[in-house]
């Protein structure tokens, strides 16, 4: 082990357009969300110690016992990657003492131990090393923002660095494409432990950053994605994605002649949004030289994005996946000429709005205060930013402008 300490971070994601319709063959657009999950790994003798303060979770395991228990259970795929089969995974749950209580936080522990064992066992047959892990996040959990994928991506990158499977990025920031693929493969394994059968979208976005479009289970990264300021609001209403997806299917079966055209409209909305993002990116690249012309073009593009958001929110309501709180948040922000829509499964979860660069900071504060009065949490953040990252030191994180949680050690 070359590195004594590594700090990695990965973004969450939002669906810009196409949620639900994507299940029925429509294009969806997803983007990285610059609320991030952070992981610090510190080399430490004889023990694996986890400290996930956000989840109010701590635990430690003796490396030797862990090694003895799992060395014999680890299997290897054709690609040389170690894995634990379903039986071994149950053993892992028992070992962690969490088999009877499969909550989100416990699944995070299982995912940690899974990746820890398998990544080190893939690299060498030597003994598992001692590690202290501190994980923390700006992302609310269970809100459809890909918090588990962000955790898995940071974890995969951190463990791959510590194990020496991938190097520190040569220019200090970017890995090679192949390294990102390795991180993504392991991040998906973490997601699989947590979610069972994930689509792979959340970890793909978390690793790559930027935006991607997906249709019929094929992902395609968008080369051009401007960084956009957004307002993100959490309804704090829990919901079942499964039930919501089934509800859309029911509505389609009852009203095919009404709902099929809705999918066509949403397809077009995704396409138009992608075009607007590309145009905005192109304008921003030229912004210094021809700033006057650009300003009116940019204004039109923001207006288009706002109109697409408004229309899609209504389409999602027609699909039956909106919620009283979502409507409420949309109407509160509308009073300030902020155009919001749900993101992801709906039925609660989060709502977002794209904020124009010239939007008054003071007004934004008023909006957020008003949302707070109604009991909603909100954040000003950005989308389209970088994916999984290695941070040489904590100060560097701050310099890069990431919002490091308060409970993270400097």
């Amino acid at each position: 082990m070359d590195l004594k300490t590594v700090l990695t971070s990965s973004p969450g994601k939002i669906i810009l357009h196409g949620e639900h319709a994507v299940v029925h063959g429509t294009t969806a657009l997803a983007s990285s969300l610059n609320l991030r999950s952070y992981l610090q790994l510190i080399s430490s003798p004889d023990e694996i110690t986890l400290n996930f303060p956000d989840l109010d979770l701590q635990g430690s395991w003796d490396t030797k016992t862990t090694d003895e228990t799992f060395s014999a259970l680890v299997k290897y795929g054709d690609d040389g990657d170690a894995f634990l089969d379903d039986v071994a995974l149950e053993t892992l749950k028992d070992f962690a003492g969490l088999s009877d209580d499969i909550t989100t936080k416990n699944l995070a522990v299982i995912a940690f131990l899974y990746l820890y064992i398998c990544i080190f066992k893939s690299k060498s047959s030597s003994e598992l090393p001692g590690l202290k892990a501190l994980a923390t996040s700006n992302l609310p959990t269970g809100a459809g923002l890909g918090s588990s994928a962000a955790f898995s991506s940071s974890l995969a990158a951190g463990l791959l660095l510590v194990s020496g499977t991938i190097p520190v990025p040569s220019d200090g920031t970017d890995w090679t494409k192949g390294h990102y693929q390795v991180i993504n493969r392991w991040a998906y394994q973490g997601e699989r432990v947590i979610h069972g059968n994930p689509s792979g979208i959340d970890n793909a976005i978390s690793v790559s950053g930027g935006a991607l479009r997906y249709k019929a289970k094929v992902f395609e990264p968008l080369d051009e994605m401007p960084s956009l300021k957004i307002l993100l609001v959490n309804t704090k209403v829990a919901r079942s994605t499964k039930v919501l997806v089934a509800g859309v299917k029911d509505r389609l079966e009852k009203y095919p002649g009404v709902i099929r055209p809705v999918f066509d409209s949403i397809e077009e909305i995704s396409q138009r949004c992608q075009s607007a993002l590309t145009s905005l990116r192109n304008i921003e690249e030229k912004v210094t030289s021809e700033s006057r012309d650009n300003s009116s073009n940019r204004c039109e593009l923001y207006q288009t994005m706002e109109e697409l958001i408004d229309m899609n929110q209504s389409f999602l309501k027609i699909l039956g996946v909106s919620h009283r709180t979502i409507e409420h948040i949309c109407s509160v922000t509308a009073e300030f000429d902020i155009h919001s829509k749900l993101t992801g499964a709906g039925g609660g979860g989060c709502v977002f709005a794209v904020i124009r660069p010239d939007f008054s900071e003071e007004t934004l504060k008023k909006v957020m205060a008003k949302l707070k009065d109604f009991g909603y949490d909100s954040w000003i953040t950005s989308i389209g930013g970088v994916g999984v990252s290695y941070h040489p030191d904590v100060e560097d994180v701050k310099i890069q402008g990431f919002s490091l949680p308060n409970n993270f050690p400097a």
Copy 2:
């Protein structure tokens, strides 16, 4: 003149589904609204006296002068109907003393005098008779509920009765199809004086009652229309239909791939609503014999109508013709599980909801009180009822259950 006194009434209308989309070739469904315009004509010597208390309008004209002024100006069409050309219409406005002030209420006076002169001049070349006219209405004006068509229909029927052009209905209630056609022709003339170039839908519904579908300027009455209880709410927000229609066109031009499918969905909504209405009517006809089975079918049909209303309200929002007050009313009624949509041009105007027969009267009162607190007027009324009617006496009106305005003389 056989009749010394006649009392007529005609209903307003609401658009159930298809407003705006109808301009782009989609089917719309319109229904009579049992808020009515009432007209009483009383034979009287030497003067035409108008009293329209709702419009705070009174006036009187000497019959002899009127006759002398217009006898020479009246022209006759191929059908033998008298008419005033545009020049004569200007003379009429001058004569009424209203040429400089073309407000709704003044147009009602012009329409009255126009029909009065032309109907009597069509019937005979004798002198115009003296008449006292009292008009009053439960319909708000300028709210898209066809108040002018209801006024024109009552007026046409009243004048045609007094002039002896049509007889008192033989069975006391219904005229022949031909008589309704005559009334409708004159009602359209009244609408034309008031609106310039009306579609003819409002007067058609007001005369026939029930419901009709229209598409590509063709009207088709629906034979089967159940009488449905509705909650009608007036936003009291004035708007320009012309501006709203233009806004939809702009949106279609900017987002054809999003908006064209919306028209397809609305077409299907109109079709599905028509089917539901027919099924409901069929069930109601059989309701006494097989009431248990019917009750669950009926419940499903009401649910379908509610879902169609919810979905269409969102589509209309996508077309850009909703309004803050409309959304607000929809959200207030939604709290009581009442499903509302705008009707007509939108951008203000009225909102309606179909109320299930078993919906609690007490809750309805609560909803209306809450709406009142927010400054909205609301009515419980019905749709699908009778069209233009002759009432042998005022008591008879009450027996028929019509809500005669307070200012109407018993």
